[in-house]
Subunit: 321 residues, 4 copies
């Protein structure tokens, strides 16, 4: 099933709504859970399916995400989660027992999925967790990036990227045109080439443990620098403060699988109003892991300061605000 188009639309939403998680990383894995359920369940229903079975292990984030979205997208379908069922757990107490059963039934298993690491990839990004990285004393460079590379391994030549925004959404990335699949791919390609990707985050999980995750999102990281500049130039101070608060609400909503809850709809409506008419063209310089805003052309009305340009430092009377 090709879900690149809805995943690209979701990436466009992530950027527009600033839905980053704790520590500022793009929680592309959480986002993909929504896309998967939202796209697959209607097709299953159309095929006459009445039950939604998924293999997430109990107690994890993903298990809750599939459960919540499933109940919202297809409330009439029942959800079966083998790894929270006492009977299944009795039959397969651990991974070894499961592997034995797979072999016993002559089934094929992807040998790559060892138990010591977990990688999740989609058009918007990749997340990595592993036994080795769990230890905070492990150098992060033990990780081999999948799309991108470490900055010191990248090209010696800087590259210039122009990102155009129109009505609060990306309209073009270096000639990609406005289709999110196209500009997302273009941004990923440029970002990867120059080692723009790393978010190495240590999170305190709700249950109190510390967990290190590494996130590759070269395209979104690159676009975020440009989008932030558009927000800086296009929103007034109160608008920016509200945007930041609501973006925080939406980042948490995505993590907790509350993207379809009333508060998330409301937060998106508010941001639609704030950014629905802003735009501009931002020129970035990308080089060895660094994305720098070089300059921008503002599309919306902005009163630019001309403190110096107007002939020197103003020596004026106090102006009451």
């Amino acid at each position: 099933m090709d879900l690149r188009s809805p995943m690209a639309s979701m990436a466009s939403d992530l950027l527009r709504y600033g839905a980053r998680h704790d520590g500022g990383y793009w929680n592309t894995t959480g986002a993909s859970r929504f896309v998967l359920v939202n796209e697959i369940l209607p097709r299953m229903r159309a095929d006459g399916c009445r039950t939604f079975v998924h293999g997430c292990v109990g107690g994890g984030n993903d298990q809750r995400r599939f459960a919540r979205y499933g109940a919202q997208v297809a409330p009439e379908m029942s959800v079966v989660e083998p790894w929270t069922s006492p009977r299944a757990l009795e039959r397969f107490p651990d991974r070894a027992a499961m592997l034995a059963a797979v072999t016993e039934h002559g089934l094929r298993l992807d040998q790559g999925s060892g138990a010591d690491r977990s990688t999740d990839a989609n058009l918007a990004g990749i997340s990595h967790e592993s036994a080795e990285l769990e230890d905070l004393e492990t150098p992060v460079t033990r990780l081999r990036p999948r799309w991108s590379r470490w900055p010191q391994e990248t090209s010696a030549e800087p590259e210039t990227v122009t990102v155009v925004f129109h009505e609060g959404r990306v309209a073009d990335v270096n000639g990609s045109g406005p289709d999110p699949v196209e500009w997302m791919a273009r941004a990923n390609e440029i970002g990867s080439r120059h080692g723009v990707w790393l978010r190495d985050v240590v999170e305190r999980r709700i249950i109190g443990t510390v967990c290190r995750g590494v996130y590759e999102a070269p395209g979104l990281e690159l676009l975020e620098r440009a989008w932030t500049r558009v927000l800086q130039a296009g929103l007034d101070a109160a608008g920016r403060e509200l945007y930041d608060r609501l973006a925080g609400v939406l980042g948490a909503a995505l993590y907790e699988a509350r993207w379809l809850d009333p508060a998330a709809y409301a937060a998106r409506d508010a941001i639609d109003r704030l950014v629905g008419e802003i735009g501009g063209s931002v020129t970035l310089s990308v080089h060895r892991g660094v994305v720098r805003v070089e300059r921008m052309k503002v599309a919306s009305d902005v009163v630019q300061q001309t403190r110096f340009g107007s002939g020197g430092n103003r020596w004026s009377e106090i102006v009451a605000v």
Copy 2:
């Protein structure tokens, strides 16, 4: 007057309290205003001075900062601000009239202080504003960094830095020892060598204009990466959320010259409690403008996740939170 020591202590506070301003930059210029008033006025008072005169132009941030801190640090001294006095403004309507008066009285003037740019430097960082940079279409690279350099002009070799934190403060940077003047200088030196410094921010000022400022704070930027990792490992989720909120309160307080207000004292007390016992040793890799946390040794009690390390993905029952 050598104020490096109080300025270094202030830099240590900026880091501990996360007091960054809108857009995340280190408002080292605002911080220095507090240090200046807090250090100079007591000495002036001791010398018998009764009046505090400063030359800030009317309506600007600095004029309000000197006025507020002056009133708090030495309430019995009167403040004279020539550039908000109607008589002074009548006599010197613009910069040209002032220059003429200076020449006329045979006084010497620092030729460097042209009207088209404003730079402010101290041990913690440098801020740049100028007529040229005001225009958002001007490439930011027109700016010549003062301490640092552009990443592409830096050394080809990465460098490793170890930052040790003890009781919520920097205790060592690559052997500097715990004196803030020493570790601040060391961090600035390393950061500058590798082009770690840039914050190019477009702010919407209260009066509604858009203003671009560029901030060099190579040492604080470098230390911030390490400190953030210590916070990630040392605080629980609720503690981190409260830290972030209070850091926002303190960042705004510093900008608005409210560092000595009751809310700022209260916010610092709360953060003192949160971070007063956390520490650890963080190893950074610094290269061409990128600071990466390589690994860390945690000093405080932390329950590290051993999801993979404990023998595979847990297939366990749901654990109620």
Copy 3:
């Protein structure tokens, strides 16, 4: 000019958006400034007026409110504020000089407007400030309410009121029907009869002084109890938290005359989404200044708890959230 209808619509908005100010009072005076400018200026423009003159004294809230709304509602009209003009201030340095000039020109003056108190009234409420009440040691009962009365002077008989909400707005108050002018009048009448009105608030103004204001809003106070119950029953926890935050944003926006700013539009859009489909019928008991929710009939879907009703305290297994 009869502005009861737009003022009643504004009161309906105040309730829907929870736009109360610091301390929880209904800032009906601030709200009326928006209504006045928003209604009068278009009529002035239609009559060919090019200048908007108002008599607010300098430095006060109202002066800024008229200025801001004037610039937004009719940006092409110029604003003249005699009491901030140096020439006018020279001519009339104080109230006595103004009174002399009025008499001198044979003009009539409303004798009621003494200098020792300030009252502002509209369909939504009344605000009182005065020289006597300024002193925090003055008993608040020195004030004579204008619409309402002190609870001990009210009828001995409780009264029952039923407020119906539909799609997030008042649809009826004891048979008033859905016209805001009608239900606002009905609510004011009932609230006044039973002494429901008082908000005696001491505010710290921005300039640092302490100021006591007393607010009569019998109708809005009464309706607020019912609306809060509808919100409690109709919103989920995250929705309620977001509502409360945005209501705070809008309360401040109204005080600061930012009701037409982008952040205020955005906050209203979000609340429209949250409350646009909630409703119900709330029965209140009103007596001697106390409004109590007796019971409610919920219109929206609500999962009511049946902890006891379902046959006793549940002795069930932990349910993971």
Copy 4:
């Protein structure tokens, strides 16, 4: 075991830290859970006990509160919760089975504890839940208050109360003296006599159900009116905003049994700084459920507004803030 003194100290903390829950009620039941565990476990440990057994039913707030506080106050003691143990649940599937077992073993049972309601009382307040009140259409007046009475049943005569605050704590209530047990009893007695008590709140629980609870806290409700006035007069605007935020953090911490978590300690430290030196004497009028601030004498330094008192409405120039 007489825990009135620690419970009164806790009530003093509730007031000082503004730790009210969603909807503004005093969560005295949650507060008492902390006091119980904090007082009883050290005595148990001193007696050589190694296990802490409590009878809370599974999945409820109290079960989690006892578990969390138990782990913090006496981490070395093990906790046994029969109603979450599969074996106990098999043996006693419902309340009837439990009652049968009690009778069978010839044990005595408090006949008052029927399954259709739940009341919890301590020095600070009482909470009521019941099968009847669960239904939002049930008139709240079906409830018989336990300490207090409905306003219409109270004395016809208003009463005056003077509450003195010193260093951010109650120092006296109508001559009670500074012992919290004494002033808490005095405030409860006066509040009860005049029907000051009701908080009828409908909460959306996390699990999505709607639940109505009724809270009697006559003393704390009365004191809160006085304390709010002291805060209004004693804190500046930024201090008040921070106080309100932190009070919200602490109200949630109390509900969720996080009173001993680092964020709660930090929030209390900040409020200690804000209110540690404020005080004053507030005179309340109490009558038929209404508590009104009549006047106050401020102890701390306050710049009172003298807008009218200074000889009329100021006609002055704009003063920049």
